[in-house]
């Protein structure tokens, strides 16, 4: 493959991820339906996770050996280790993403439950309607 093409694709991915962040933030802030807000939030989480994976990306150069980044020796020498480092990507972002995905699961589960409870109490998941009844409640409390 051409190196220019790879660079172009890399750029395209980065820009589209930024675009995704913008769209999902817009969705969380401006949608009035709580379920749609939740969907936008999960899109945002996934975009950030994708972005993190992208940081560990290693640019392929012509002449680089195309082999999977696996150590085949049980007792590697410094020579094989150096070659392995040449081939492998940065593993730390993947560890970050694993942690963030698990945390995201907990948060998403909580948000789903709270939406369920909101719909029990208010018989709606529209934040505008909930906000309207809240203003009435606050007013009654203060007077």
């Amino acid at each position: 493959m051409d190196i220019e093409l790879i660079k172009f694709m890399f750029m395209l991915t980065t820009i589209s991820l930024y675009f995704n962040v913008a769209i999902s933030l817009y969705g969380v802030v401006s949608k009035t339906n709580l379920v749609k807000k939740l969907i936008a939030l999960t899109i945002f989480q996934d975009t950030v996770n994708m972005f993190t994976i992208l940081i560990g990306y290693k640019l392929w150069r012509p002449g680089l050996l195309l082999q999977p980044p696996v150590l085949t020796d049980l007792s590697p020498t410094s020579e094989t280790l150096r070659e392995f480092v040449e081939r492998s990507v940065d593993p730390l972002p993947q560890a970050f993403v694993l942690t963030a995905v698990v945390i995201g699961l907990a948060v998403t589960l909580f948000l789903t439950t709270i939406i369920l409870h909101v719909s029990y109490h208010f018989k709606t998941v529209n934040v505008d309607e909930i906000g309207r009844s809240k203003r009435v409640y606050i007013h009654e409390e203060a007077v």
């Binding site: 945002f44 950030v48 970050f96 709270i114 109490h121």
Partner: protein, 553 residues
């Protein structure tokens, strides 16, 4: 060195929190859960006290999890700033769990989950305070926020508790995710998330260099590490600051606080106002006095004629002013007593943020150190004062059966031993002389004066004056107002009364001790140490030493 008292601080509450749900299969006794929570929190109090005593001697404690040498693994670092706050947090959690002996008899069900979530909250708070790793800060922030979302929605049969939790959790989830985004930018450009290693890389000062840390994560030259450091740091600070401001409740992000604090159970709202909002403030302080300091070139590029770091601090102090005035003005009309206390919390957070204006680089070190010790002292006095008030007024509102002030008229004269600590708490928050709250405000006032920001300094006084209206309204209603006489027999409130008396006495004793001058000098020395480049070098060296021992030279 690997200090076990640092490492166990988060492990023990998490373990206890995981054991508690298993116990629910067999045991239903309310006292058992209160006892387990109290025992666990007492253990953390002991651990944090050991750390505090060691830190006050000027040492820095470290603990590396799993024996990984620092820039690779997670490391906890305790210096005087987080040592003091950690002890404060553990103590407040201890008192809150003592309070649950009484409180659990007042709720129908769910007491076991209240214990579990409180322990998780404790782990989150202490983890956020003690960690020396930005990614771990994010993880602990999530532990803290998920447990606090659940605690706000604790009374899930109450409509408005669920609504408050919803309002908090949606934007909270967004904010913490943005914090993660910021951490990713830091990692992409610096190649590390360890705070000590980041100090080395943001400063590039020969005094701060550490060959043991560099051996793992490389060396930075100029603005180029693994990426452009200047741009990515500015971006990361922007993203992380929003999350921290959201947790602290600074002006545009404090809309969730009144509902969330008012609807959560009493011991929990006391903890929220006492220590949880301080975590966000601590994060901001740590970001600007340890990571991106005045000595670092990373955030020093000029924007509108001011260095970018100074511009952020100026904006933060301005936002603090707005928050302070807003909280003080909105406090007076409130009828719900917990909502009123929340607005008081907001105004005090505003005062703390106002003092950030004295941390900018053109202010001399002595004035900055005074401002930092004022910030730290106000965190302590406000935490104790607001905690006392939430517990005291929460207890009275449970006795009366309503948080509405008009229904609480005259309860105070019925329970004088609860009302006295409440009045002391209010006076301390207001800043009346022999009490601790006065001295913290006074230190911030003089620091802002020395820093050449007289308007900010005078605003602290004006904000206190405005909030006096709200405070005296509550005191007046409690003591002078005529209540309904048929109220029935007096309840026995032995546990809440004794806790409140201890807290009020501590406010008084702290005030007298500060008046003698010893504490203030001690704090000032530590603040100067935190702000100076020698202090930074001490921080780096302690982590570097750990790296040397664990990683081999």
């Amino acid at each position: 060195m690997n200090e076990l008292s640092v490492g166990l601080v988060t492990v023990v509450p998490v373990l206890a929190a995981f054991i508690l749900p298993v116990l629910t299969l067999k045991f239903r006794s309310r006292a058992l859960y209160a006892t387990i929570t109290t025992a666990t929190t007492f253990f953390t109090v002991v651990l944090t006290l050991i750390n505090l005593l060691e830190v006050m001697k000027g040492n820095i404690l470290t603990y590396s999890f799993g024996g990984w040498p620092p820039p690779l693994g997670i490391v906890y670092v305790v210096d005087s700033l987080n040592g003091i706050l950690g002890f404060l947090a553990a103590t407040l959690f201890f008192f809150s769990s003592l309070y649950t002996y009484w409180y659990f008899n007042k709720i129908e069900s769910g007491y076991e989950w209240l214990s579990t979530l409180t322990l998780l909250l404790l782990a989150g708070v202490l983890g956020c305070l003690y960690t020396g790793d930005l990614f771990n800060f994010f993880v602990m922030l999530e532990v803290l926020s998920v447990s606090s979302y659940a605690l706000v929605a604790f009374f899930r049969r109450r409509k408005w508790a669920v609504e408050a939790s919803m309002a908090y959790s949606f934007i909270g989830a967004l904010a913490t995710m943005l914090f993660f985004f910021g951490v990713i930018f830091i990692y992409a450009s610096f190649g590390t998330v360890n705070i000590a290693d980041l100090i080395v890389k943001t400063h590039q000062d020969p005094q701060l260099a550490s060959k043991y840390l560099e051996a793992w994560s490389g060396k930075c030259v100029g603005e180029w590490c693994y990426g452009n450091v200047f741009i990515s740091s500015a971006l990361a600070v922007a993203l992380m600051l929003w999350a921290l401001n959201f947790e602290a409740g600074v002006f545009p992000n404090n809309y969730w606080m009144p509902s969330a604090y008012a609807e959560s159970p009493t011991p929990v709202s006391a903890l929220f106002a006492g220590i949880v909002d301080k975590v966000g403030t601590y994060g901001v302080v740590r970001l600007f006095i340890t990571l991106f300091t005045a000595y670092s070139a990373v955030l020093a590029f000029p924007l509108w004629g001011v260095a970018f770091r100074d511009l952020i601090l100026i904006v933060l102090s301005f936002l603090g002013l707005v928050t302070g005035y807003l909280g003080a003005l909105l406090m007076f009309p409130q009828k719900n007593v917990k909502r009123l206390l929340t607005y008081s919390t907001i105004s005090h957070i505003g005062i703390i943020f106002t003092s950030f204006g004295a941390l900018i680089s053109r202010v001399p070190l002595s004035a900055s150190a005074e401002a930092l010790s004022g910030i730290l002292l106000h965190m302590i006095t406000h935490a104790i004062g607001e905690f006392t008030l939430f517990l005291g007024l929460g207890t009275l509102s449970i006795v009366v059966g309503s948080t509405n002030l008009t229904k609480m008229q005259g309860v105070g004269s019925k329970y004088p031993l609860i009302t006295a600590p409440i009045i002391i708490g209010f006076l301390s928050l207001l800043g009346v002389v022999p009490l601790a709250g006065f001295f913290s405000k006074f230190v911030m006032f003089t620091a802002l004066m020395k820093a050449g920001l007289p308007l900010h300094a005078i605003s602290i006084v004006i904000i206190s004056g405005i909030s006096a209206l709200g405070y005296f309204k509550v005191i007046y209603t409690l003591v002078v107002g005529r209540g309904s006489e048929e109220g029935g027999a007096r309840e026995r409130l032995l546990i809440p009364t004794s806790i409140l008396l201890i807290l009020a006495t501590s406010l008084l004793v702290l005030g007298v001790m500060i008046a003698q001058g010893a504490i203030i000098n001690e704090l000032m020395n530590h603040a100067e140490d935190l702000l100076s480049i020698d202090g930074l070098s001490k921080y780096v060296n302690s982590v570097s030493e750990l790296s040397k021992i664990l990683g081999g030279s």
